[in-house]
Symmetry: C2
Subunit: 161 residues, 2 copies
């Protein structure tokens, strides 16, 4: 059970295990985002808005360039989505206190409400899976996912999150 290379044809099993992992990631990501996508649609928002809402909520006083570094999209792409969120009062964008070129992004009260509704959905999804799988499985889950991250992300993740 613990050895992923047992069986009559270790090489084949290994390949099959890897395929299973690839598919699990695909299915899990798809199902993980489905419910939130539906709720976002009622606001006229998409998954891109969710990501902004999420990271701004999670890392208050984030700057635009930091957000770009996390999302890995162009500033033109971000600006469309972020602009809508600021425009509609979900995110506030103020000049930084020391460096006034930077913009300090925060969720407004309205933004926090939406963030909370979305997070509730996803937390429930993860919490259920965690509860069913048990603490040891959770540790393994995190260990493997962390290993999939590239070096930069892993370091940022280990530092920041």
């Amino acid at each position: 059970m613990a050895d992923i290379n047992t069986g009559p044809n270790p090489l084949f099993l290994r390949e099959d295990q890897l395929h299973q992992a690839m598919e699990l990631l695909f299915y899990a990501y798809r199902d993980f985002t489905a419910e939130c996508d539906a709720m976002l649609a009622t606001y006229g928002f998409g998954r891109a808005h969710h990501r902004v809402i999420y990271f701004v909520g999670r890392y208050p006083a984030l700057s635009v360039s930091e957000l770009l570094g996390i999302l890995r999209i162009t500033k033109q792409s971000l600006s469309r989505v972020l602009g809508e969120l600021v425009e509609q009062g979900f995110v506030s964008s103020r000049p930084g206190p020391t460096d006034r070129r930077r913009r300090v992004l925060e969720l407004t009260e309205k933004g926090r409400v939406l963030e909370s509704r979305l997070s509730t959905i996803q937390r429930a999804c993860i919490a259920r899976a965690y509860r069913e799988a048990g603490g040891e499985a959770v540790a393994g889950f995190r260990k493997v996912l962390l290993g999939i991250l590239n070096g930069d992300d892993r370091r940022r993740f280990e530092r920041g999150a």
Copy 2:
């Protein structure tokens, strides 16, 4: 370590753990697909083509409706992508042997070459993470991911994959 609810403020820790899981999924999925996206671009293809190539390769003689059920997109969306792949000779589409309304999808030799190049990238990524994490972590990883799938997918996955 095994108990995800330890610490001075169990509720907060729990919430933080859940946030970490959400972010890990985001980062891992992004990094997992990045290399393949770059290679696909050299063919003029995108991630949607990859999914088709992958599932047709993995489940030979798949029908269009089965593929639709896996991908959860509309047939119009699929048709664009699948049409290109058939047109350019990566996927063959023939009438089914018994039910001639169905189309039997298979990778061509050309398609298998591309599939192999893409799979090599992703298998390496997973294999490295698996190797670093160890067999027990792998079991936990799979258990948690499986728990994130909705019921239908979980059943299909447990049956088919």
